[in-house]
């Protein structure tokens, strides 16, 4: 069980943003979460570059770019609205660094959608999958015992599965 805590430890470093998932990391260490996200994001970038240059990924070069861009935009818009309505500052605001550190989750989902789906030459289903991945984080949330909300689905997996079910022409 996750121990309840009325206050989430905010890091002294303002560039390390804090959200509900941090409470799932050892010692609620926001740095560990950030490390994990960047580690995975960099892995995905390397994997995509290798895939498109010599591993023979079928998708066009445009797909990872479009997917990551649409996932990032969706995440920014949703966070902005979420923060505004809660009267807090968006997690990407403050500094250049906090903006950059806000992006890895969207990058991971975008890259995953762009490499695991083959929608012929169409970009539409890739944009849909990426946006749905990110939106699933606000559409399907549970309340932790500390009162904060967190998503419980794997975003990109959800986006990919739903896209495959809705678009029978996507392979």
């Amino acid at each position: 069980m996750i121990q309840a805590s009325n206050t989430i430890q905010t890091s002294s470093n303002p560039t390390v943003s804090v959200n509900a998932t941090v409470s799932l990391y050892p010692n609620r260490n926001a740095h560990l979460r950030l490390f994990a996200l960047w580690y995975f994001a960099i892995l995905m970038i390397a994997w995509n570059i290798a895939g498109h240059t010599f591993l023979g990924f079928e998708q066009s070069w445009a797909m990872p770019f479009v997917a990551v861009l649409s996932a990032c935009l969706a995440q920014i818009v949703l966070e902005w609205v979420d923060a505004r309505s809660l009267g807090r500052k968006p997690r990407f605001s403050g500094s250049w660094l906090s903006f950059v550190n806000f992006l890895p989750p969207a990058m991971i989902s975008g890259f995953a959608c762009a490499m695991l789906l083959f929608p012929n030459e169409r970009l539409g289903p890739i944009i849909f999958a990426s946006v749905l991945s990110i939106a699933s984080k606000v559409l399907f949330r549970i309340r932790l015992s500390n009162g904060s909300l967190t998503h419980f689905l794997n975003p990109s997996n959800f986006g990919i599965v739903v896209t495959l079910l809705l678009f029978s022409d996507v392979g």
């Binding site: 023979g56 990924f57 079928e58 998708q59 066009s60 070069w61 445009a62 649409s70 969706a74 818009v77 949703l78 609205v81 979420d82 309505s85 809660l86 083959f118 012929n120 030459e121 169409r122 970009l123 539409g124 289903p125 944009i127 849909f128 946006v131 749905l132 939106a135 699933s136 606000v138 559409l139 949330r141 009162g147 904060s148 909300l149 809705l166 678009f167 029978s168 022409d169 996507v170 392979g171």
Partner: protein
């Protein structure tokens, strides 16, 4: 606390609503365009066909077969081995002026049957009895050899239509039709003399060929027709030998660049003789192709003059390897090709570059889709839902034909905007105008293994349970196993023992797909209306042969089906559209007058490679979306042996729509028997015409 809770609840709702709107918007824009029921009905009303099953069961020697007899080492993939062989060619063997003779390979019968097309209302009774072509004295072991298709042409240049039959298990045989036969006597097997195409390989293990494509064209421009023969398995493989030992063959050396198949072979015409012992001799010049293609696993081929320089280019469809487009740079007597590849841009998927694809290349058809006076290329791959989503190709010409000289293929892959990307496990792909409205329809053969489970089937307990519960009516879907092949290490799949079990007769692989019949909708996208016109049956088709068999100006066609009866469809459209059908006949002697609808009986053969170009009324092409006006010029070429196993008529056919004028200008271009390129523009009335391509000015 409760205050904070209710506030987060409210904001949660707001963000959720926004998230939903974003997703819904993206979904709306990501959908495929569709057409209204009304438009679908209207499109379907344009076409109607009467169907006739092609009964050849009487020709079976030992009952009807349901699968290939195969080498023991291939037993685990017996359904895969049994996947091909059905073939059909429509032609005019009895020289009655109509392409109403059908050469059918029905795999259940496993012989080559020649028959008049059924429902022939021109004649009160059948013109001749159907007969099987027999190789007579040539070596033929029915236990290791099976016919897989035919190609019709005048190989020994005597004005008679001869038949080349190709096989699994041996080299092709040429059936040369006798010259002395009079028109009055009925067509019969005795009128054909079988001779070997490659006599030096007869009886050798290297002579065990597994041919799946044959096309003819005058590749070197010397006035004589050369042959391209495309083989699938390695020459010398022992596929059909039930009593074989060891391993029958090495399979593909990889899934995307396999070059260890049979390869495309090229035979240059050298000499021929006519009479009672007719002969024709070719020189094997396969190395000219192997230089560019390696030994691919050929499933389809087609030759057509794509750059309008008078020499035919060659498109070769390869299984498990890139297709090949070869630009013809030959001189008379000296064959030479240049390999052309497309260009990739930021938005081009990897395989959508001509010559760089990893798709399966199983059928090829030519037609001027965008109306720019250059032929476009329609290619079948595997594109089946919940199975394997490659994409069929529609290589649309860019018009920059000079690119050919720089080894660039001037084609863009546009199957997606044209709506031709996916249908099933594709084979023959043809572009023809079925309703004579001036726009090409597309028909595609689909299907692979049509599994059947019965009470007596050997089943695992789990399949037995499923069958008892009413499932498995359409066989056991083996796509999961085939997908496992797709994820197998490339270094393993060359060994048939590393393949998963895909066995006849229970295995199903895309076997119940319908053959799409695509009609161009108002938006310019093609829409499959096969089910709407009562032709949505799950035919398991390999070849499509098209011809105007009754001479009424509309095109009929045959589906050559695998392990089930093949079907003939007679076109019975009722509309006011006109058409122009041209039989371009090359006389035996160049020095006779050019003549339209010659009164006397003219001896000659189809002028393969000749082109006809017409100008149409201006129309905007909705697909290209740009200001480009298309449909202005249409070109058609006398082609022979294009595709996988269905070979169409050598007549040229244009749909003209409701053409208001009395005559139409047609620019004809052909190569004479002496090898000279000649062109001539004629003004003729719509309808059917025979044109004798003499060069004498008298």
């Amino acid at each position: 606390m409760s205050n904070i809770m209710s506030k987060t609840m409210a904001t949660n709702r707001r963000v959720q609503f926004l998230g939903f709107v974003l997703v819904a918007t993206c979904y709306f824009f990501a959908r495929q365009p569709s057409i209204s029921q009304g438009e679908r009905k209207e499109l379907a009303s344009k076409l109607h066909f009467d169907r006739f099953n092609l009964g050849v069961e009487d020709f079976a020697l030992n009952g009807l077969k349901a699968k290939r007899a195969a080498h023991p080492s291939l037993d685990r993939i017996s359904a895969w081995i049994s996947g091909t062989g059905a073939a059909a060619t429509l032609c005019d063997l009895d020289l009655d002026g109509l392409d109403n003779d059908l050469i059918l390979v029905d795999t259940r019968v496993d012989r080559i049957v020649v028959m008049p097309v059924p429902g022939d209302e021109v004649h009160s009774k059948a013109r001749y009895e159907a007969f099987a072509l027999d190789v007579r004295d040539l070596p033929m072991n029915p236990n290791t050899m099976s016919p897989t298709g035919s190609l019709v042409g005048d190989f020994n240049e005597d004005g008679q239509a001869d038949v080349l039959v190709y096989f699994w298990g041996r080299t092709p045989v040429l059936f040369l039709k006798h010259t002395h036969q009079t028109q009055a006597s009925q067509l019969a097997s005795s009128q054909f003399t079988p001779i070997e195409l490659v006599p030096e390989l007869v009886g050798t293990s290297a002579g065990r060929w597994y041919t799946h494509a044959a096309t003819q064209a005058d590749f070197d421009g010397d006035g004589h027709l050369d042959l391209m023969i495309g083989n699938f398995f390695q020459d010398g493989a022992d596929i059909l030998n039930e009593h074989g030992t060891g391993i029958a063959t090495v399979m593909h050396e990889g899934k995307s660049r396999a070059k260890n198949g049979g390869g495309a072979k090229l035979f240059r015409w050298l000499s021929a003789s006519v009479g009672n012992q007719p002969t024709v001799v070719y020189a094997d010049q396969s190395s000219v192709l192997e230089k560019h293609c390696g030994k691919g696993w050929v499933l389809a081929a087609g030759a057509a003059d794509l750059d309008r320089d008078g020499l035919p280019e060659l498109y070769i469809g390869h299984d498990f390897g890139p297709d090949r487009l070869l630009h013809n740079r030959s001189q008379p007597g000296h064959l030479e090709f240049g390999l052309c590849e497309g260009v990739r841009t930021f938005t081009t998927p990897r395989s959508f570059v001509l010559g760089r694809d990893s798709f399966k290349g199983m059928g090829v058809g030519f037609g001027d889709v965008n109306g720019d006076g250059l032929l476009d290329i329609f290619v079948s791959n595997i594109a089946d839902e919940w199975a394997l989503q490659e994409s069929h190709f529609l290589w649309v010409s860019t018009g920059n034909i000079d690119d050919f000289k720089h080894n660039r293929a001037p084609y863009e892959q546009k199957s997606e905007p044209y709506g031709l990307s996916r249908s099933g496990w594709g084979w023959d792909a043809v572009l023809v105008d079925l309703d004579n409205d001036g726009r090409l329809e597309a028909i595609q053969a689909t299907g692979f293994a049509k599994g059947v489970v019965t009470k007596d089937s050997k089943l695992s307990w789990i399949d037995r349970t499923l069958f008892s519960a009413g499932f498995l009516q359409h066989g056991i879907n083996r796509w999961a196993e085939l997908q496992a092949v797709g994820t197998t290490n490339d270094r393993l799949i060359h060994d048939p023992r590393a393949w998963p079990k895909i066995q006849s007769p229970t295995a199903t692989l895309s076997g119940y797909d319908n053959n799409p019949i695509y009609v161009s909708s108002a938006s310019g996208r093609y829409v499959d209306i096969s089910a709407d016109i009562g032709m949505g049956d799950p035919f398991n088709t390999r070849g499509i042969a098209v011809a105007d068999t009754d001479g009424n100006g509309s095109l009929d066609f045959v589906y050559a089906n695998q392990w089930e009866p093949s079907v003939f469809f007679r076109n019975s459209i009722a509309n006011h559209n006109k058409s122009l059908s041209l039989r371009l006949v090359l006389p035996l002697d160049d020095e006779i007058p050019f003549e339209i609808d010659p009164s006397a009986e003219s001896v000659g053969s189809f002028a393969i490679g000749a082109t006809a170009t017409i100008k149409r009324e201006p129309k905007t092409n909705p697909v290209s979306g740009t200001a480009q006006r298309t449909g202005l010029v249409s070109v058609a070429e006398v082609l022979s042996g294009v595709g996988h196993s269905g070979h169409s008529s050598q007549e040229i056919h244009f749909g003209l729509g409701e053409y208001p004028n009395a005559t139409i200008d047609v620019e004809l271009r052909w190569r004479t028997r002496k090898g000279h390129l000649v062109s001539r523009t004629v003004s003729i009335a719509p309808g059917r015409h025979t044109i004798l391509l003499g060069t004498s000015s008298k």
